[in-house]
């Protein structure tokens, strides 16, 4: 699929609350087939950035376009077919089973009244299969472990078959093993399906491990952007983490590691 027509384009987009600027006017383009990791300290505006492009918030200044269309011009379902968003805290699902949750992802396609077509069912089955949830389809989502629950929500986004997956700290509640599992799944999906991903990640090492591109925000401005190899250098990371940051260069199977001296 050719995705170049569905890049995110920010044109002077900013957001503020009262007279406090959360996000200064940003100009950038996010390519629709790459995995972007958003990093930065608490309060740097990364969640706000994600919510702006997910249309959960409306920018106070500038415009955000998807391809050549302003986000505001999309209908609710049309937008959901382009962009799926997973909040940092996934809500309680009130006894819903995994299959029922994943099937909700098809709302953008069949709408409130349309019948569920064979294509809808195939998409749900495929998403469940891809996220290794076949054994859990009849289990209530609330009873799953943290990692399984996160996979169920990712499967729901997959069933939505959108061009973009936006994830706000998808691994914040998980242990290191499950963090890697979820991020590798997301990275694999980016390559297999050619979707664009923007994920807010806390850990620069995790970001460098999976991302095609790393964007670092600090106090509402973009301070750094580049591939993992460009970013994982002490002189580049210093403005973000202070003078004590150092990087252990990649070696064989081990990726580059940033650490504090």
């Amino acid at each position: 699929m050719d995705h170049s027509g569905s890049d995110f384009v920010l044109d002077g987009a900013g957001f503020s609350v009262g007279d406090r600027t959360i996000l200064a006017r940003l100009n950038l383009r996010l390519a629709a087939d790459r995995l972007h990791a958003l990093v930065g300290p608490n309060g740097s505006g990364k969640s706000t950035f994600l919510k702006l492009i997910a249309r959960q918030l409306t920018p106070d200044s500038g415009t955000i376009r998807l391809g050549d269309r302003d986000l505001a011009t999309f209908g609710s379902r049309a937008f959901a077919r382009q962009v799926a968003f997973m909040p940092q805290f996934t809500p309680a699902t009130d006894g819903m089973t995994v299959r029922e949750l994943v099937a909700l992802g098809r709302f953008a396609w069949h709408g409130a009244l349309g019948r569920s077509s064979p294509k809808d069912r195939a998409a749900v089955a495929e998403a469940i299969e891809r996220c290794d949830l076949a054994a859990f389809t009849q289990r209530p989502v609330d009873e799953l472990s943290g990692g399984e629950r996160q996979r169920a929500w990712i499967a729901m986004m997959l069933a939505q078959e959108s061009r973009w997956l936006l994830l706000d700290e998808p691994t914040s509640a998980l242990d290191a093993g499950h963090q890697v599992e979820i991020l590798d799944l997301i990275a694999a999906l980016t390559r297999e399906r050619g979707v664009g991903v923007v994920a807010v990640l806390h850990d620069i090492n995790m970001a460098a491990r999976v991302a095609d591109e790393i964007l670092a925000l600090d106090r509402g401005t973009l301070v750094l952007r580049g591939g993992p190899a460009d970013v994982m250098r002490p002189e580049v990371l210093t403005p973000l983490f202070g003078p004590r940051v150092d990087v252990l260069p990649a070696e064989g199977a081990r990726p580059a590691l940033a650490y504090m001296r």
Partner: protein, 651 residues
């Protein structure tokens, strides 16, 4: 000069209170001067034994309400907690009304009787919400239900004991009229004790603001402290209610004003709240007296504070950060999962059996009997009850799914009270209004309330929380207007009292058919929203991400639920609890998907309503008790058993 934060506000408020008192005094002298011209002795007695005590009572009672609320808000970490919203005042009122009728001797100790009622209400609210860890919104919703039920109960008791008792309802509206110093002194003593207790607990209270876990980590027995402080606050609130009746919103506004003045410290805010409350109630009461002098109407002070406070909550809505906590655990894991078919069949069989019972079984002069002949003249009544009950079940399910809150019920839309306000207007305008005109008035009132709510929430983006709070505020505002009309003691007031208690008049077949037609029209509309009803409980963010146009969908669903509530309220009066219980019952039987949930709740709602009516007719035969009261008793009992059980087994 700036002595402390809010100093100038304090000065202005004190001057305003004094000015109002002086104006009222002069106007009163002006009014009596024709009869007692220049009689200074009369004026002196009046000042010493009526005006000054009333001013003192307003100050003391306002301080008591401010302190009680500040304590409860602190302990429950809930910015909307106060005696009225938690149902404490209504509980105290019910206990006092019941004691006056059934056990007059107990009324020698009014504060004790009031405490029993208020403590029972507090226990009910806290037990029912313990499993949701006292999540503020759930606490307020449960408090509203307890409050509605207690008010309906009090109205029923007053009605049953004859119209000379309506004076009790006037008192219930919050009346500060005094004829001596004794009540003021009693309340002052209790207030002083509570202030002493609060001062002793200042340090632990500051810790509690951090939350239970943190307070425990700091070495504090959070549970014990919370229990002790709540008991203290309930005692103070009950004593206040015993002296002056229900005065809402002072407790809500006082801590908020204390914060607005810029007092930062934990102790400072706790102590500023009673000062703000005292001045606020004195101002409101002065205003009410002035309005009384100018218009000749006797307005209960409680009604006036609600008129100020309702809009205050509405103004606060956009500022409220969050009343729901993400850490509240879902209760779904303990629910059974059954296939919907057998459950729905069982519910249908139960409904049919209930209908058969209500149509044929009854009590007569010679005891219990089953008579097929009664079917013809009971069918209209049972048909009406079935349709109305199903409508409430539908409305309740839609509201709970729409807001993602299992404690929400159709009452939160304020539509039922709106219907009552419409009825009040019709009755005041045309004292001998026909039943058709009354129904028309109720319908107009309900729809106007619904549109007001929609218009308000639309401006603020239709969040579930805002919808609930705005609905509660609107309901509280309108019900205080109702109380004022009832307090006039006119025939219209007496009719309204019957309506509040849920006394059902014998319906005509046409009425039953019309209600059934509305049910038949609204049901498919609700069913068409099944997918939205599955998605909305996930919350705003997830629903939007899935492509649901949340604002429009919510507006549609509020209209459907509001119309269903309006139709059922017009048909059988306000039905507290059934709209909350029926969807709950369906859920706990394992009906989880929207369609089966809706169907189950409608069946359960119809069966519960018919059963409540049958019991209301049978229990005190040959007298007929108010239907609404019975529905509330069934619902309240269910709530206690279900949630108390859950609290023990829950996380």
């Amino acid at each position: 000069m700036k002595a402390f934060p809010g100093f100038w506000w304090l000065v202005i408020a004190v001057v305003a209170v004094a000015a109002l008192a002086l104006i009222n005094h002069l106007m009163l002298l002006d009014a009596v001067s024709n009869e007692a011209a220049g009689n200074m002795a009369f004026a002196a007695v009046f000042v010493a034994r009526a005006e000054l005590p009333r001013l003192a009572m307003a100050l003391v009672a306002g301080a008591a309400l401010g302190l009680a609320s500040a304590l409860m808000q602190r302990v429950l970490r809930n910015p909307l907690a106060e005696p009225a919203t938690l149902g404490l005042s209504a509980g105290a009122q019910l206990a006092m009304v019941a004691a006056t009728v059934a056990l007059p001797a107990a009324m020698a100790y009014p504060a004790a009787v009031a405490f029993v009622g208020a403590a029972a209400a507090a226990a009910l609210v806290l037990v029912a919400t313990a499993r949701r860890r006292f999540e503020p919104l759930s606490v307020i919703l449960t408090g509203m239900m307890v409050s509605l039920t207690a008010t309906a109960g009090a109205a029923a008791v007053i009605l049953a004991s004859g119209d000379y008792m309506t004076g009790l309802f006037i008192w219930g509206g919050g009346d500060l009229t005094q004829d001596g110093w004794a009540p003021t002194l009693r309340l002052t003593a209790i207030l002083a004790t509570t202030i002493g207790g609060t001062v002793l607990a200042l340090r632990p209270l500051a810790l509690l603001t951090l939350g239970d876990a943190e307070a425990k980590a700091a070495g504090l027995a959070a549970g014990t402290l919370r229990f002790a402080i709540i008991a203290l606050a309930v005692w103070l609130a009950a004593a206040t209610t015993a002296e002056i009746g229900i005065v809402g919103f002072i407790g809500l506004a006082a801590p908020f004003i204390a914060r607005l003045t810029g007092v930062r410290s934990s102790a400072g805010r706790l102590m500023a709240a009673p000062i703000a409350g005292a001045l606020l109630l004195a101002l409101a009461d002065g205003g009410v007296q002035l309005a009384g002098h100018l218009t000749g109407l006797r307005i209960p002070t409680g009604a006036a504070t609600a008129l100020i406070g309702g809009p205050l909550i509405l103004a606060l809505v956009p500022r409220i950060v969050s009343l729901t906590r993400p850490d509240v655990l879902p209760s779904a894991a303990v629910l059974p999962r059954r296939s919907a078919g057998p459950v729905l069949v069982t519910l249908t069989i139960i409904l049919v059996a209930t209908i058969a019972l209500a149509l044929t079984a009854g009590r007569g002069a010679e005891g219990w009997h089953v008579d097929l002949a009664t079917i013809t003249w009971r069918s209209a009544r049972v048909g009406l009850l079935a349709s109305a009950g199903a409508l409430i079940g539908l409305a309740g399910t839609v509201i709970q799914r729409l807001t993602g809150n299992p404690m929400a019920s159709p009452e939160v839309l304020g539509v039922g009270v709106g219907a009552g306000a419409g009825l009040a207007v019709i009755l005041l305008a045309v004292p001998v209004a026909s039943l058709g005109a009354q129904a028309g008035g109720m319908l107009a009132g309900a729809l106007m309330t619904l549109f007001a709510l929609l218009a308000f929430v639309r401006r603020h983006g239709f969040g579930a929380e805002r919808l609930l709070i705005a609905g509660i505020a609107l309901g509280a505002l309108l019900s205080s207007l109702l109380t004022s009309v009832i307090a006039t003691g006119s025939p219209a007031g007496f009719l309204l009292l019957g309506w509040i208690s849920g006394a059902l008049i014998e319906p005509s077949p046409d009425f039953a058919v019309a209600t059934a037609a509305i049910l038949a029209g609204l049901t498919p509309l609700a069913l068409l929203h099944a997918r939205a009803l599955a998605i909305l409980p996930l919350g705003e963010t997830a629903a939007r991400s899935l492509g649901l146009a949340t604002a429009r969908t919510r507006a549609d669903l509020v209209l459907i639920a509001g119309a269903a509530t309006a139709a059922s309220t017009v048909a059988i009066g306000p039905m507290s609890f059934i709209g909350l219980i029926a969807p709950h019952l369906a859920r706990s039987l394992g009906l989880r998907r929207p369609l089966s949930h809706l169907a189950g709740a409608m069946l359960a709602g119809a069966a519960l309503t018919i059963a409540a009516d049958w019991l209301a007719r049978m229990v005190a035969f040959p007298y007929q008790l108010p239907l609404g009261l019975f529905a509330a008793l069934i619902g309240g009992g269910y709530l206690v058993i279900r949630f108390a059980g859950g609290a023990r087994g829950g996380p």
